[in-house]
């Protein structure tokens, strides 16, 4: 059995959600590694768009550490700006969008604005804000969220909805005219989640080696449903790890 880090498992698991030839919208952080790894393995014909405005047929040749890092634009096919790549979301061209956040609820709504009640200004703890996550989740055909998991982060209801999942349940996105399909998959630090076609509620689909369903349920604030077909996530092979590590030799992202 290969020895791997959690970040490596998450990156490789996320990459499996990308099909060859798809348009993939990436922000910075792990998604950059996911995209680079997908290019290097099963999705060489992927089209990569970045929030900073690069459109690429190839992985960035060097590590990009910000959305508008020169490395993300080095050897790009087009170096536009934020308006141009995010417009592709609105045109419905983006197949998969990767987002993150600080809190997620059972309908896949995400909070990246702050903790507490916004109208009680004295006690609201501001985070950075939406960035492009809201736009990606509104209009991307499929949305993949990468989330740290504990009971304060997997909540019954987000304290502030920055980014729409299925909002209050089935049909709500459609009522508001959202063109994207909504959240499709959540890759957390403990397992992988999908959404029920009918109820739109998030359920556990895979748990990572070393985790248990009980432990995962204890780190989720709502009564988490579990797929009858729940399984352990396939661990990365030695070959997969070799390819991934070569993309981040100093462990900048992977640790």
């Amino acid at each position: 059995m290969a020895d791997y880090k959690l970040t490596e498992l998450m990156t490789i698991r996320c990459a499996r959600e990308i099909a060859d030839g798809e348009v993939v919208f990436v922000g910075v952080g792990l998604p950059i590694m996911v995209a680079a790894y997908a290019f290097a393995t099963h999705a060489p014909n992927m089209i990569m768009m970045t929030e900073g405005g690069a459109i690429r047929a190839t992985a960035p040749p060097a590590l990009a550490i910000t959305v508008d890092d020169p490395a993300a634009f080095l050897g790009a096919d087009a170096a536009f700006g934020m308006l141009a790549t995010m417009a592709a979301l609105q045109r419905g061209e983006v197949d998969v969008a990767f987002i993150g956040g600080a809190q997620i609820d059972k309908y896949g709504n995400i909070n990246s604005t702050g903790a507490g009640d916004w109208s009680k200004k004295e006690s609201f703890t501001y985070f950075a804000g939406s960035g492009g996550a809201n736009d990606m989740a509104t209009s991307g055909k499929r949305v993949l969220a990468i989330m740290p998991q504990d009971k304060k982060k997997f909540v019954e209801k987000c304290e502030y909805v920055t980014t729409p999942g299925f909002l209050g349940g089935p049909g709500e996105r459609e009522k508001l005219g959202m063109i994207g399909g909504g959240p499709n998959c959540v890759v957390s630090t403990m397992g992988v989640y999908l959404f029920d076609d009918k109820t739109k509620e998030m359920y556990l689909s895979e748990y990572y080696p070393g985790q248990s369903i009980e432990k995962i349920k204890a780190n989720c604030a709502w009564d988490l449903k579990v797929s009858p077909k729940v399984k352990e996530t396939t661990i990365p092979t030695a070959k997969e790890l070799t390819i991934l590590r070569a993309l981040d030799p100093t462990g900048f992202y992977l640790g």
Partner: protein
């Protein structure tokens, strides 16, 4: 052609063109953050500024809020990524000293696009269904599409009084040259301004050089108020082709941002204690060594491999050239002329 030299010192540019109460477009994102201008605004104790931008990193806006210069921000994303929080902004909001209006990146970019276009608002797809819509009615509304497609979010146009930006090159007239990322949103934020643009630049180039490659101009001279020659003017953010992001300094600054008691000491040493950006860089070298600056040197040698010639065609070559024709065309035209003549 009026050859108006707009070069001036950082101090004069801010004193002359930024007034208390102004709406300021805050340039850059994670690179090209106008840090030297940020420091000068703090030094001159400007007050009650409102800022607009889409996203901004390395804590530039955080220290400007922490220093008491800003009373209102409109933003999609603000923090110092290298400490993972917007500490001074968080405190100012809690203390009721700062109004904050949240919107998504595309919402903010579109707001500036609407300003750029000179229209009052623009429809966008995002923000609907969220708490941003609920808590930011100043920038966001939902209307029925008058053409019948259903509900749509609209965002108010953002037009700043003045824009502060950093770019690789500019000429003395105020033509601003930025390349590699098209400045993310700088061209829209700058062009939408009511009064104009203050630019700090790594290099002053001749107008003839800019005019030999005008595709790279993001702000034309007539929109520019002041050009400040200011090497390292975006530090600790990056400037493409000149220096990379100073992660260690961003973290260092961020640790000061974190504590209300500590931030004034940072401002005393690095802002009030330095008369300009050159003094700030000297301080940097004395504290963290020349090797700190050397570490920021980018890998170069990525010049375009495609030979571009902006050639043009001289239409005077048509002088004296008879009309092209053939028998078919001539017969048809003659028949029509005969018909007209017969009536």
């Amino acid at each position: 052609m009026a050859d108006i030299d707009k070069r001036m010192t950082l101090k004069d540019a801010v004193a002359k063109f930024i007034h208390d109460g102004d709406v300021v477009y805050y340039g850059g994102f994670q690179i090209h953050v106008p840090m030297a201008l940020t420091h000068e605004i703090i030094r001159q104790k400007k007050r009650n500024l409102t800022t607009i931008e889409s996203s901004t990193d390395v804590g530039g806006l955080d220290i400007m809020v922490g220093a008491g210069c800003v009373s209102e921000i409109h933003t999609a994303w603000i923090m110092n990524w290298y400490v993972k929080a917007p500490y001074a902004i968080r405190r100012a909001f809690n203390e009721g000293k700062l109004k904050r209006y949240d919107i998504s990146n595309f919402g903010a970019t579109s707001a500036m696009m609407a300003g750029f276009l000179g229209i009052p608002f623009i429809p966008i797809r995002g923000n609907i269904g969220t708490d941003m819509l609920k808590y930011n009615p100043m920038d966001l509304k939902v209307i029925e599409d008058p053409f019948g497609t259903g509900k749509i979010t609209v965002v108010r146009a953002w037009r700043a009084d003045v824009a502060i930006i950093h770019a690789q090159k500019a000429d003395r007239l105020g033509n601003v040259v930025s390349y590699g990322t098209r400045g993310v949103t700088d061209e829209f934020g700058a062009m939408g301004t009511k009064r104009g643009v203050i630019v700090t630049t790594e290099e002053i180039v001749e107008p003839e050089a800019v005019r030999s490659d005008p595709d790279r101009t993001i702000v034309p001279y007539y929109k520019t108020l002041a050009v400040v020659h200011c090497p390292y003017g975006a530090h600790p953010s990056a400037c493409r082709g000149y220096y990379g992001l100073d992660i260690r300094f961003s973290q260092y600054q961020g640790r000061y941002e974190r504590y209300a008691d500590l931030l004034p000491a940072f401002l005393d040493e690095w802002v009030y204690g330095c008369k300009d950006q050159a003094a700030y860089i000297e301080k940097y070298k004395s504290k963290f060594g020349q090797e700190g600056l050397d570490r920021l040197k980018p890998k170069l040698g990525f010049k375009p491999k495609m030979d571009v010639d902006y050639g043009y065609h001289d239409p005077t070559c048509w002088k004296g050239v008879p009309m092209y024709t053939d028998d078919r065309l001539k017969a048809y035209e003659d028949a029509i002329a005969a018909k007209k003549g017969g009536k």
